[in-house]
């Protein structure tokens, strides 16, 4: 039993810290982070610096612009860089880094890797994930966006929805139906789509947070070159599943870090905010909830460490990763609601109010966190996966019967 990283890894951490302190000095004028364009600019410039210094694609081969390093090194860089999200746009392309990269790296052709990986890692390309459709959410395998092979192209027609970052993305991982005459899982393909192609129409969807971070994407006779197919035609389902697995491996650790910072932010707030004239932090009920959140953050972190240790020892991420997603999504909802409890009546004040608390961060976070139990596998779907694939419980007879028919 050992939770420590190797001395070499700790050396590497020091090196990363020193580089960060030098590259992003604290007394430097803050980057403009107001609009989405500002944040994209910040992301690109930060990512380019990381890339040039060899900290961008830790586990990727050098010929694709990576470092040829280890998973532990990747964790270290992620840990050290996490605080730079809000100030320097780090992590903005989480979908590209977390999903497109790993999928291309493991399933892409050599040509695709050479074309896309360096531009992903150096910040040039932002990616989005075009999986969900109006009629295909949890039942993802039912997607109906149609791709028909014509010569050296696929002609694609259909609609995607809830596509995060589509409005700023350069490329899209697109799940399409190439064969409608076979059971639904067997006729899907995985395409890489240039978002500037004629016929791609992106429309922002306003979210409950007041902001627009996801989109509808309409596809009207979009011609995607056939060499943009990942894997084989009609074998896209397996690749889509792999995408989702990758989404979860780093998920526990990254969220554990991010939420621990949020926890300390809540704690600071609880020292200042008054209830009946006294700091809220003196309230026994609030203290209990804070402590419970802290304990659950520890659970999330050390559960992530167990997953990491397994991968480091040569295992592969399995359905077990779903447990971490269940833990973090629900914990985040409780934490952000606790922040609102602490704020009391101030919790109605949004970002634009002059007397809001903590810049309206918790109003946004509380509302945004509602999506945590829906995106990337809903809480219910994850419990199905855990129940059926980890515990070995039988499938619902009705669902099993439907599957047989489709």
């Amino acid at each position: 039993m050992d939770y420590r990283f190797n001395p070499e890894d700790e050396e590497f951490r020091k090196e990363v810290k020193a580089w960060l302190a030098k590259t992003f000095p604290e007394d430097e004028a803050p980057l403009k982070m107001e609009t989405i364009e500002d944040r994209v600019n910040a992301y690109r410039s930060t990512q380019k610096k990381l890339f040039d210094a060899g900290y961008a694609g830790i586990r990727y081969d050098k010929k694709y612009g990576g470092r040829g390093g280890t998973m532990i090194e990747e964790i270290i860089v992620a840990e050290e860089l996490a605080p730079y999200g809000a100030t320097h746009g780090y992590g903005l392309n989480a979908i590209g880094m977390g999903m497109a990269g790993p999928v291309l790296n493991t399933q892409g052709t050599e040509e695709q890797k050479l074309q896309f990986l360096p531009k992903l890692l150096d910040g040039t390309h932002i990616w989005c994930q075009g999986f969900s459709e109006p009629n295909s959410g949890s039942d993802l395998a039912s997607v109906s966006t149609r791709a028909v092979r014509e010569g050296d192209h696929y002609v694609v027609n259909g609609q995607k929805i809830w596509t995060s970052s589509a409005h700023i993305a350069d490329y899209c991982m697109l799940l399409v139906r190439t064969n409608p005459d076979v059971p639904k899982h067997k006729g899907l393909s995985y395409l890489l789509m240039d978002m500037t192609l004629p016929g791609v129409d992106v429309r922002l969807v306003k979210q409950l947070t007041d902001e627009s971070e996801f989109c509808e994407v309409f596809l009207d006779d979009v011609k995607i070159p056939a060499n943009m197919l990942v894997g084989e035609e009609d074998k896209g389902w397996g690749i889509a599943l792999t995408t989702l697995m990758f989404e979860r491996v780093m998920g526990d650790l990254n969220t554990a870090n991010a939420f621990m910072r949020e926890f300390h932010r809540i704690l600071e707030m609880a020292k200042d905010v008054k209830r009946s004239g006294k700091p809220v932090l003196e309230n026994a009920m609030i203290r209990q909830k804070l402590a419970q959140a802290y304990i659950e953050l520890m659970v999330l972190k050390y559960n992530g460490f167990r997953g990491l240790s397994e991968v480091v020892q040569g295992g592969v991420p399995g359905p077990q990763g779903s447990i971490g997603k269940i833990i973090w999504s629900e914990l985040h909802q409780r934490m952000s609601e606790l922040a609102l409890d602490i704020e009391g009546p101030y919790n109605q004040l949004m970002k634009d109010s002059a007397i809001n608390m903590d810049d309206g961060f918790w109003q946004y976070t509380f509302l945004r966190a509602k999506g945590n139990t829906i995106e990337a596998g809903s809480a219910e779907i994850l419990r199905n996966i855990v129940g059926e694939r980890v515990l070995g419980l039988p499938k619902d007879m009705a669902r099993a019967a439907l599957k047989e028919r489709s």
Binding site: D2, I295, V386, L393
Partner: protein, 380 residues
């Protein structure tokens, strides 16, 4: 980084699993549940032969000198098996107190005999008005000659009725702060003025007693550690015991989950296994989330106690106490629900796990107490 048991630990676990399956099957647990002593001498001797009493005792006192993680490997199996008897009170509470606070003569007098299973001990800590707060210690130890006299009542003392000695915490100086004025004493359970009454409890896989001290004389040689400064070492013992209860909770919750999942697979209603219904499947999934979460925290905590700095380790010890016991409670509560009517019977085993979970929750500080400890340790 390597978060797994080493070969020796895996071997210890396998041995323990086999031992309990063969020697202490559920029939034995049921019998001992109703038995006032709670264990047989034969099983106690066999457990000593396995080396489990000696596990953490230093080699110079005839022990094996292994680490906390090794002990927890055994404790997890004991939780899984609903192991009965005074192991926790003797090995985790009394022996650890001696290791932590004892002088050489005291260690020589007790530890070798604990190693062989000849001697059993316990900890007398909680009082009628303590609630779940281990730091509320008001029983009086007044000085008399060059010794002390103990007067008062200790409650929920584990296995006092079968113990040879107790470590008793009492006040040698009045006050509310446990850090000042609490002294630990070694008291013979047969000493004059000690009266022990077994309590009728819910979880009878563990036995608890009321212990009355009516003018019990103890010599200064039986002061364990320093006078007035007993809380420091006691706290360290309690933290290890919290982790031990965490291990027990993880083992018990794992087994209770396995029982529920197995039943959900074989019990049919409406022409399908009840585990196919999401209302049941999702309860089972929640059990796994609880069990795996508790296990992740448990592994870390055993390591942290020996490797992290004291505040971090103390936070972990409180975190595991609260989280694992609550997880065990959640798993066994859903466990009864998944079983339906049979879950409400004496005949089915699930209620034993539920009861043990309730014991683990409230013993040595309940979850609310430990959450408050986490806040205190975070410095807020």
């Amino acid at each position: 980084m390597d978060i797994s048991f080493n070969e020796d630990q895996v071997e210890i676990r396998n041995q323990a699993r086999r031992f309990f399956e063969n020697e202490c099957p559920i029939e034995y647990v049921r019998e001992m549940f109703e038995d006032e002593r709670g264990f047989t001498d034969e099983i106690w001797a066999k457990m000593a032969e396995m080396g489990w009493m000696a596990l953490r005792i230093p080699e110079e006192y005839d022990g094996i000198g292994l680490g906390l993680t090794d002990l927890c490997v055994v404790l997890e199996e004991m939780g899984r098996a609903l192991s009965t008897g005074p192991y926790f009170s003797t090995v985790v509470l009394a022996a650890e107190a001696l290791i932590e606070a004892g002088n050489d003569a005291q260690k020589q007098a007790y530890l070798p005999k604990i190693s062989t299973g000849e001697t059993r001990g316990t900890l007398a800590l909680f009082e009628p008005d303590s609630g779940p707060d281990p730091g509320y210690i008001q029983m009086e130890a007044s000085s008399e000659g060059d010794g002390f006299v103990l007067n008062g009542t200790k409650l929920f003392v584990l296995d006092a009725h079968t113990a040879d000695f107790m470590v008793c915490a009492a006040r040698t100086e009045a006050g509310d702060d446990p850090a000042q004025g609490v002294t630990l004493f070694l008291v013979d359970t047969k000493a004059e003025g000690v009266s022990i009454t077994p309590l009728v409890t819910m979880d009878r896989t563990r036995k608890q007693c009321e212990v009355k001290f009516g003018g019990v004389k103890v010599s200064k040689d039986d002061v364990l550690g320093e006078v007035d400064k007993g809380w420091g070492p006691l706290l360290k013992v309690l933290q290890k015991a919290q982790i031990a209860l965490g291990a027990d909770s993880v083992g018990g919750a794992q087994k209770a989950m396995e029982i529920a999942v197995e039943y959900a697979n074989i019990r049919h209603q409406f022409n399908q296994p009840i585990g196919a219904f999401q209302a049941i499947k999702h309860q089972c999934a929640n059990m796994l989330v609880d069990v795996e979460g508790a296990r992740s925290l448990f592994y870390y905590t055993t390591w942290a106690m020996e490797e992290e700095e004291p505040t971090t380790a103390s936070i972990a010890a409180s975190a595991i106490k609260a989280f694992a016991a609550d997880a065990y409670r959640n798993v066994t509560t859903s466990g009864v629900q998944v079983l339906g009517g049979i879950g409400c019977t004496w005949e089915h085993d699930m209620h034993f796990y539920l009861k043990r979970a309730k014991f683990n929750q409230v013993t040595l500080g309940d979850s609310a107490y430990h959450r408050e400890e986490v806040m205190r340790l975070l410095g807020v």
